[in-house]
Symmetry: C2
Amino acid sequence: MNLSKLATPALVIDADILGSNLATMAKSLPGSRCRPHVKAHKTTSLARRQYEHGHTGFTCATPREVVGMALAGLGDDLLLANETVDVGRLRAMADCEARVTVAVDSDETVDAAAANGIREVLIDVNVGLPRCGCLPEEAGALADLARARGLDVRGVAGYEGHVYQYADRSERTRATEQAMSLLLAAHRDVGGDVISAGATGTYDINTWATEIQAGSYALMDTAFASLVPEFKQALWLEATVISTSSRHAVADCGLKALGMDHGNPSMDAGEVWLVSDEHVTFRPHSTLRVGDHVRVWPAHIDPTVACHERIHVARGEEITDVWDVDLRGW
Amino acid sequence: MNLSKLATPALVIDADILGSNLATMAKSLPGSRCRPHVKAHKTTSLARRQYEHGHTGFTCATPREVVGMALAGLGDDLLLANETVDVGRLRAMADCEARVTVAVDSDETVDAAAANGIREVLIDVNVGLPRCGCLPEEAGALADLARARGLDVRGVAGYEGHVYQYADRSERTRATEQAMSLLLAAHRDVGGDVISAGATGTYDINTWATEIQAGSYALMDTAFASLVPEFKQALWLEATVISTSSRHAVADCGLKALGMDHGNPSMDAGEVWLVSDEHVTFRPHSTLRVGDHVRVWPAHIDPTVACHERIHVARGEEITDVWDVDLRGW
């Protein structure tokens, strides 16, 4: 089917750009050096392409992502890089046909993991972003507690997400080094083989971690585009012009189809003016007619994909595949 | 089940507050004076409560909402207050066991409706918000075209969404009157019984329309709360504290569970600091422990509900019902 026949709004991936992004990462961080983060796409069909590029371990943000990846046969080494004390979900992950490791950062999360069948953990360390993670100096004692509870402690995890505040690469590098010095100090107290950190935005800066949790690189978005220009935007929203006037046009792709936390999307066809529930109002660069298709580029991929049931894969103007966004929810 | 046992993040409605909101609207705009907008909740179980309060006609923003309402037996009088030229979706709506009226604002949308089995339309008029709608002076000719195509023209529709820019009620009233003078002028040229307009924010201001498309009043959100304080917030996100530190706490409710276009949510338990994909970081007002539940109040209801598969209905701390959010997607 041609893209022009697609019911809209609809997510579309350019297969060639996706392939290029996956190859670029696999060359830079081969095999287990990259642990792709599935939260960026929530799609096992895409995760399978990452697996085929040599990355057999994955990062997840929710128990449902872990369970869904296991069901899809992609459970060689799944890390829940997040805390949970949910008994039902811990048991569901423990019962998976998969190797499952969960992050812990407190006595409560250690106890919950141990009590509900989880076998392996990482000690999650706060390295600067105000979110989860214990203090670096608490990591050793937490690892001792975990081992006393019968858990295998594989190492440490920490996310240097605060370094994006620095637009300048050398400042970002300095901030990453500082964050990783905290993680390495914690690792000396914790032990284990794994130092898991990072993201697409620091994938070629963070040389201290043993593995990088990169998610955005596969599909990219306008928010990350300037940081890592070697990865190109592979995903857009196909939309249809449904109304025109002398000053503006309206397409059928609104904020219920988009993650809006990083602001408005952008368009090739014009300047975005107003985004409401089911509409984007824009000033077109040239005359558009009702029924024309336009492309809307999300500012933030992760929550955008989570709004949709499926992604269409295209080569040129032809849709060659449809992937279920099968890891949505919690 | 008690709320404290709920797997999180999870949407919860306070049944008593919802009941009060529905009763307040039914008293103020009884029967067909209110045409509830289902885009605000995308839940036929909630629409059925609105129906039981006497509002038997509904407003929809997407064809899927129209079709879903018809399937739920709530198809007495469904208005798609939006434009579409999608052949498959127009036919699906035309084939519904329901009375379906669609908005048109151009020759193309009139032709598409007529060619695909739609029988009734409203002429959508731009009354000030830069979105869909023909110019008021074009409405008569468009009605003539629609009638020439065999369509029954029921009247006009227009949405005065731009009046929210005025915080002062008297300014909002003046702007609404100005917008409705445009819609009434168009109606003189179009004819028909219906002048459909409005929203929760103008429900008691807009005395010119024959029916008000109010959506937010049922569940409310922090964005609308100051405009219409007689309606109370009935919906929140139940979340679990998963990490604590000396300076902040983290709950498992992030921007993938929230509409973020109106900014951050608010919390009773503390001051929201940072919202990321699966986390809200906040400064707690008092000591919290891992595993404690907290309530997160969305800034914008409509896209928040659209992130979820179900809503839990509670009386006090007891969950008494679970409703599917069955009108999601397009």
